[in-house]
Symmetry: D2
Subunit: 405 residues, 4 copies
């Protein structure tokens, strides 16, 4: 059966040539990102348990909900304290019984959530700073949609819903800067500067040729002796981050850290926290409210509202099609010459096999000097191949090789 | 002080001329919409209380979170039953003390949520079908940001965050159809056909000149005697909805209802519910995961990830700038000749007055036969005026005159 | 089979002749009593549902737990407000599936709890003042213990546990006064004086021939215009209550109301509430912490620690044996001459039919002028008869004809 | 000021001469005992925090509530699994602010509860088997009742309520056996036989001269390879426990273990658990529903309904008077010759200093050969002394030197 793939030329000003561009990322310790991470950790733990107990098969579940209810803290230079723990409500549903097997879904969810939190935000005292509660429901698994990870099983699951996924490539300079900064902070800057917390919001604004990166960064009080050290760190961050950004652009770059700080003799109000996340003192979070599955929020680009994190990676369109769209766009832009920009949209039809979307719509902005018709067949080939092997996405997700936020 | 307003020409294929277009709406009883509605109802109730107690002033609060945890039900033709109530967790925070006043924030939130649910989904038995729990935190009000609704107060609140809002106009045919259908169902079709529930998902796909509207509609079991009546209703819906859609387009229209239904002698699986929402039996919901503030999810258009519902309407950019962007685009397209399509983005800077955004970026696709330069000044004028009167948005929200989802 | 019934003479100073006697009762609106009432209301609602759905059979359940977490209020003369609702956590377990029947256990529990609260404390605004949450588990019904309320079924359920019940008769003067006062307040005084709330603690102390009744009574603020009316009411209560008490005794009676009140010009601290229960502002409650099943707390008498309320009335010893012990003692003291005081203890053996206790131990203090041996056989006869008809207790409980607290 | 102390002679058959006696103890891992232990652990942790922060002063709090909601498990020989964690709801209230100090009451409560559970039931996997949630309220501290543990502060706190405490001595044979067994199991038998869980219910029945000890003991599945080892262990327990019991009595002793077990070829139903407590699979627990502060439930003795655990040890009568009554009885029976049995009741009057009870009533059964009048003064002396030094109780509680359940 032929797939319904539509490759069209898009006549549009490419992003880099548009006057204004906005890009945002909520880093790993932002309340919304915490919610995403916990949701995905639970889904992956359930997948592993199902596979172990059911000879490689993954059963139905969805944990793409859940709420982070902020606690209360009293940060202070040198080290403050958590007054009221952050409250995590785990929800969603998972198959608890299948044949004669019973799965410890609630216990698995709580364990996965706590393990994720411990690992991701090592400043947390897991005995005092968080409460992980669980009101997960019971799902049932339709036999036709059991996904086997072992070879020899070729049935492709059917779409859980009429829904869609979107993706684009390549990333603009600002997008690259934001993603690059996030990695730099996580892997290089924070390890050397533990004062920098886990909850950063990176906001990139390009105004023609000036890029302003506004950073809101929670600081960890125990690693900050006083206001002077705090101010020093902000300067150090601005400097280092500017250097990182410059690796991706020749445009003018400005980095601003915690612009809402008030530092006066009488009233000092800075972004100081006990553990490095605003969830400890007033900011709630929930799944699917933050980054899209490419790690960014890009109001100048098409986006899906679907939460990717926590959804089952077997037949949930909101997860699989978003991830796949992005992968397709990336691969096509890398392998095929002549594409200035590409937007991929995959639309499912509930109950139909996920490798046959209702429509796979690809829009390409053609690079100067190339002809759309020349590269269109090559793009279609990639789309077709990727759809054929759509269950690779499932495997990558289960193995934790695809980020979801 | 001059505002930083950028009006630029956008060279882009207008939506109606793009090959594929996707538009979605989650109607009032969808779990995500319920979450949105409850969040907004609470914010408005708090606003009213603050105004009454504080001589017209509105204090700080944010209730743009909250979770709908699905219950369990046993629908059956003629009337089934709710086994386990839906659980609503109200979170967020609100000012509880201001001067010597104490506000009953929790009680107000619970009452507003219950009143909203009772009114919006009248099939709910409020004594058995829902649990409204509350873990709302305490916020504090910065004196400089108290918003006075009475005359004579001219101070404009300062942005709570560095964030942005986006909006567009005019609506495409598919967008108009989806919004038109939603209204038609709510105001005309359901009142006459109570079998149709409150939780509908309307998905519009335009493939060149064919528009397919896929409707997932929860049916209310007590108003449906059996499978025949159910099937009849689906036919009636398809027919009526097609007629409504045709008012907005000359394109070919197809309407499909509950395509996942399985109706066979042995196995019948249809979208039957006790109260007309899938929240009763397996689908969780949360604030900000559904429709944008224009009532739609439009992956072909720029969108903001921010939840509009439940945020305070005083200084929360995620609410005010999204609403304002949409209003600006609507007004400009209505009043100014020559605009084919318009995208508005407003970017704030934390701590700065909200009527002076960091940048107000407007992109226009020019109608054939018009010149961008001719209408640009008029557009700027509208943007400027609207920003000047930005607190009108606050008033409209409090009065319930602006929808947020 | 002969029952193991032991009737023994007890050589002990009768209560009325002991120097000091203490008796307490927590009235209907005391947090512990609210918890008891809610627990029992749920059990009765489940019984009714099971009987209706299962042709007269009652299935297994236990709802003898549950917590009342106090809210916050701001009472003030003329009418204050509830800030934070009281939170009720319903727990326990109930059979959700039996054969092909599914029972709406959670929904029934929530409905029963709300209905009970509405009816018992009519001052509650059910939309703002209470949150009823439910974390009830699932129980299973052993076929052998299904209790049939219809005729023709003669199997007697087997004891759920090795446990016991205790009861005594007759009631002493102080006991009679406390119970009499409770009735008088509920049926006569409060209806005419709505200022008197639902949460009263009646504490009776007899010191030889002086009886002091200390009353802690929550007052309802909306029915109290100011401190003068409050003080007046206290005087009126003291007077009326004294008159009531005198109907039961010739001893000297003193009644003291809200002795902890501080009424001074500067600092006034009185027991004022919005709804007439301390649960609204700081006092938690839980099942089984208050009155024993005879309505009293009597540290001078043997007591069982078992909560009677909420336990299933089919085979739960903690409920049935406590109720039955009391009934046996009452009947024997009424019908048999010569008993000054009687203490009944019934001990079960897990897994054995409840009409054959491990031991039924009855201790009698003989009235002056009578001989123990003369009336012992008559007492044994009553005990035997009552055990034979033990399932009458079940029926009376289901019909709400036996109080449990 | 002279204390109101009443020492009276009690004419009553001493316990050992009564025909039937019942004594029960719920061991450390029984759901009600877990609730008690957690409540007391929290109170002690709060005391320590207050003392550290406030120069030795203890502030107001009460945590004598809280609910243990049972989880779900699948025990199996060799090791089963926890499906759904036990849910602990911490409630009560504690002073959060005092002067300019802020106390991390919620975080302290959660930490204390988790630490207690980890230590007390070491089989618990704290990452999967328990959820500790907290809805603790805020209390306020009356300056007059701040209790200073440092020398030089002599003010005695005032009674929080009109309430009472009761105690008795000496312990009967059955009482001694039950307490002795509990200690033996905890300190000797379980360490060598880890199959024996933490949740045991010891029920002693004396029928004239035969003492039957019925033991319900949760077994830990990971330490039990199969039904044979299970049965063997039961035999071993019966034997060892009988030997222990014989140390306290010359009466006939019978020990029966898990009498409800069904061990047949087809249906085997035994008391097997994953962690050694029934809380994991169906039995809820709550504070104050189990043992009295002497560690026993004694329906043949006067008892108080008040929960001792979790109450503040400063001015809460329900805690202090129960502990003190027991201490007084113990001391008097030890030091004074001629007392066969003693019952102590202390009644407070709200607002009055706790060292001056409304009445301290002591009833003594005189030993054959002694005269009541001879030893009464000595008893009064002890009562008076103990009341004078009543705050010693507070210190002992804070230091964990007095058991509360």
């Amino acid at each position: 059966m032929k797939r319904n793939i539509s490759i069209t030329h898009l006549s549009q000003t490419p992003m880099e040539k548009q006057k204004v561009e906005l890009v945002e990322r909520k880093c790993i310790g932002h309340p919304d990102s915490i919610a995403d991470g916990v949701a995905e950790a639970i889904s992956r733990a359930l997948c592993r348990e199902y596979m172990e107990e059911c000879d490689g098969a993954v059963l139905h579940h969805n944990t793409d909900q859940g709420e982070v209810v902020a606690g209360e803290s009293r940060p202070q230079f040198g080290g403050g304290k958590i007054i009221k723990p952050i409250y995590f409500l785990l929800t969603g549903r998972a198959t608890r019984q299948f044949g004669d097997k019973v799965f410890a879904t609630d216990a698995i969810a709580v364990e996965a959530a706590r393990a994720y939190l411990r690992q991701t935000i090592p400043t947390f005292n897991m005995e005092t700073d968080v409460i992980v509660d669980c009101r997960m429901g019971t799902g049932s698994t339709d036999l036709r949609d059991v996904f086997h990870t072992k070879k020899g099983h070729t049935a492709v699951p059917r779409a859980n819903d009429t829904s869609f996924g979107v993706g684009h490539a390549p990333f603009s300079q600002v997008e690259q800067i934001i993603l690059g900064l996030d990695e730099y902070i996580a892997n290089e800057f924070r390890p050397k500067n533990p004062m920098v917390g886990y909850d950063l919001k990176l906001m990139g604004l390009r105004d023609i040729n000036t890029i302003t990166i506004t950073v809101a960064s929670a600081m960890v009080d125990r690693y900050c002796s006083g206001i002077d050290e705090y101010v020093e760190m902000k300067e150090k961050m601005a400097e280092s981050f500017t250097q990182v950004a410059r690796q991706y652009t020749d445009r003018k770059v400005k980095v601003e850290i915690n612009t809402a700080d008030i530092i006066r003799k009488k009233t000092t109000s800075v972004f100081l926290t006990v553990n490095g996340t605003s969830a400890e003192m007033g900011d709630d979070g929930s799944v699917g409210r933050g980054n899209r599955c490419n790690g960014l929020i890009t109001p100048n680009r098409p986006m899906s509202m679907e939460a990717t994190s926590g959804k089952n990676p077997i037949n949930h369109i909101g997860k699989i099609y978003n991830l796949l769209s992005t992968e397709i766009a990336k691969e096509a832009c890398q392998k095929v010459d002549g594409i200035e920009e590409m937007y991929v949209r995959l639309l499912s039809q509930i109950g139909h096999p996920i490798d046959y979307p209702h429509i796979a719509s690809v829009q390409c902005i053609t690079k100067r000097g190339y002809t759309f018709k020349d590269f269109a067949p090559e793009v279609e080939e990639i789309v077709n191949k990727r759809l054929e092997n759509i269950t690779d996405i499932t495997r990558l997700v289960i193995d934790g090789k695809l980020k979801t936020f």
